[in-house]
């Protein structure tokens, strides 16, 4: 639901990612943007240009943090320095919630810098939920976990991905960052109905949504974030909005990034579906 404990009871609308090619435009032109999403790891630094830009952005805009390397699903314990830097950034941005992925990506101190799918087992769900709770307790901010795109599945899995996401979020009592594009990509790669996924997650836990573009190859789809949002994903987004309400939505465009206006215009297309849902179910 739009304002809920998992997004700090906020009612954010449509946001876009804060990306280097757009810095100059944003700081000079000061376009009207409801909120920006930043990649936490890009700003967990000690000084310099990244923080100079961030502080200038924070003077005018609302910012929400999205991470890519906390690895809730890794067997490794948390990197304490990572958590300390993350908390420092949380205090700087005053982000109303923080998101990262339901994945693993490091082992024995070595990092893949990828968002690796997890085996969907009850033991893994319990372990992951425990780490999410520990992170939330340390960071003192609501956490939303994002479903990832995946290209492989494990023999060891005991349930579907949406059952696993539901199990983890219930055990951790955390929010969900529902990435509609990722559901579509995974559904095509693993031959499941994406609407089964959308219909069978705890909708009250969705604190934020992602939409994005992807790339089709002969035998699989890759989550490339370098295209406009495709029609099947928009259709899924419309369905998701009916289930969870007009929740804070972020367009991800991370490669072959076009002009700020092109990215922002693409993001604002989401309004068509949000307005339609509001018209059907006025508050």
């Amino acid at each position: 639901m739009p304002a809920n404990p998992f997004n700090g009871y906020t009612n954010y609308d449509i946001g876009i990612g804060l990306r280097v090619p757009h810095y100059r435009h944003i700081l000079a032109k000061k376009p009207v943007v409801d909120w920006f999403e930043i990649i936490s790891e890009n700003f967990m630094v000690d000084g310099g240009r990244p923080l100079e830009v961030l502080d200038a952005i924070l003077e005018q805009y609302r910012v929400v943090q999205h991470g890519v390397a906390i690895y809730f699903g890794s067997a490794d314990k948390f990197d304490r320095e990572h958590l300390r830097r993350l908390k420092r950034l949380v205090k700087r941005t005053k982000t109303p919630w923080l998101s990262d992925h339901l994945c693993w990506g490091s082992v024995d101190g070595r990092y893949t810098h990828d968002l690796l799918p997890m085996p969907y087992t009850f033991a893994v769900a319990r372990h992951t939920a425990e780490k999410i709770r520990a992170a939330r307790d340390f960071l003192e901010v609501p956490i939303c976990v994002e479903n990832v795109s995946s290209y492989a599945e494990y023999h060891a899995s005991e349930m579907t991905e949406w059952e696993f996401l539901s199990e983890v979020s219930e055990l951790a009592d955390c929010g969900i960052l529902l990435d509609v594009n990722n559901i579509y990509v995974s559904s095509q790669n693993h031959n499941f109905n994406p609407y089964d996924y959308l219909n069978h997650i705890p909708h009250h836990r969705v604190g934020q949504m992602h939409i994005a573009g992807h790339s089709k190859f002969e035998k699989y789809i890759l989550d490339t974030h370098d295209h406009p949002v495709l029609d099947p994903v928009w259709k899924m987004y419309a369905h998701a909005i009916k289930l969870v309400g007009p929740t804070a939505t972020l367009l991800e465009w991370d490669d072959r990034i076009p002009s700020f206006d092109e990215v922002h215009d693409e993001a604002l297309k989401a309004n068509k579906f949000r307005n339609a849902q509001l018209a059907e179910s006025p508050a």
């Binding site: 630094v45 893949t112 690796l116 031959n191």
Partner: protein, 168 residues
């Protein structure tokens, strides 16, 4: 699974067909990855193996333009692959990917021969740039700070993000 991802690709940018013990990689992959109607277990795992290497090589490619110029593109690729095979990423941020490149070039100068000394200097310089870009900074001194402080108590220092390099 992680060990398979860190394993260097073949010269044709594919996953190696044999595991470290000589077993067929297709058999190894099928032990934990399910195939689907289009891709084998091997092919599904290969997507991640390739993604890892493309991502980290791309990062070094961007951060070490000078080193690339010194050793040449082809040699840089071989050097980068060897470095990352020896020293895979040990940080949550790709910013730190080159944190042991100087050490590697000193340990194995053949990868940058015949310009090993210049390559080492360039790598050190380019790493110093990475550090300076987002290193800690103190508030710069203003005119008023200088005017308001007795000369005997005035202490000037360099910003902590600066580094002094002695290059050959």
């Amino acid at each position: 699974m992680a060990s398979t991802l860190f394993r260097p690709l073949t010269p044709q940018w594919g996953m190696q067909k044999r595991w470290t013990d000589g077993a067929a990689m297709a058999d190894v992959a099928s032990e934990f990855i399910k195939p689907n109607d289009r891709l084998s277990s091997f092919e599904r795992l290969e997507i991640y193996n390739r993604q890892y290497w493309f991502r980290v090589l791309d990062c070094l490619y961007d951060d070490y333009r000078g080193l690339r110029a010194v050793v040449g593109e082809r040699k840089f690729l071989k050097l980068a692959r060897a470095y990352l095979a020896r020293y895979p990423s040990d940080s949550y941020t790709l910013r730190d990917l080159g944190n042991r490149l100087e050490q590697f070039l000193r340990e194995e100068p053949d990868w940058s021969a015949p310009h090993s000394e210049l390559a080492l200097d360039m790598a050190r310089f380019e790493w110093a740039q990475v550090v300076a870009f987002d290193g800690p900074a103190k508030a710069p001194i203003t005119h008023d700070d200088i005017l308001d402080t007795p000369a005997s108590k005035l202490k000037l220092g360099l910003q902590p993000y600066l580094g002094l390099l002695e290059l050959n």
